[in-house]
Symmetry: C2
Subunit: 79 residues, 2 copies
């Protein structure tokens, strides 16, 4: 089963990488951009056919390793 | 308009970060994980109400700055 984990900084947490990308886009003439946030995306291929069990396991993975839950939010998507 | 750009290494391109995460997950006992690929996710907030125009502009941003199209694939999602 393929699962995608989207990890983004929480609202209010400063995102210097996003700011840098925003600035670079503006210098290239993309002035319609109002905000940029940069996050991570982890694609997992898991040997588990039960969706509920797989989601529970991936939640554990996020809590233990993949996301820093103090400053990041994560979202699990079954593909 | 909120737009999400998903950037992943192309198939066949070595992903050392993914390998490291895979290894770490295995050491934590998550042995059902068969493969891990780590990518980027960029959330853009754009002052443009026309979906077709917005997509075209974001495609230009990806080609010019956001993605390295030699080794990365990108995917544009309207949120």
């Amino acid at each position: 089963m393929k699962i995608r984990v989207n990890i983004q900084l929480k609202a209010g947490v400063l995102d210097p990488q996003g700011k840098a990308v925003h600035h670079a886009l503006s210098s290239l003439g993309f002035n319609e951009v109002a905000d940029v946030r940069v996050g991570k995306q982890i694609l997992l291929d898991i040997d588990e056919s039960d969706v509920t069990k797989a989601k529970a396991r991936v939640t554990d993975m996020c809590e233990e390793l993949l996301a820093n839950t103090v400053i990041e939010n994560y979202e699990i998507e079954i593909l």
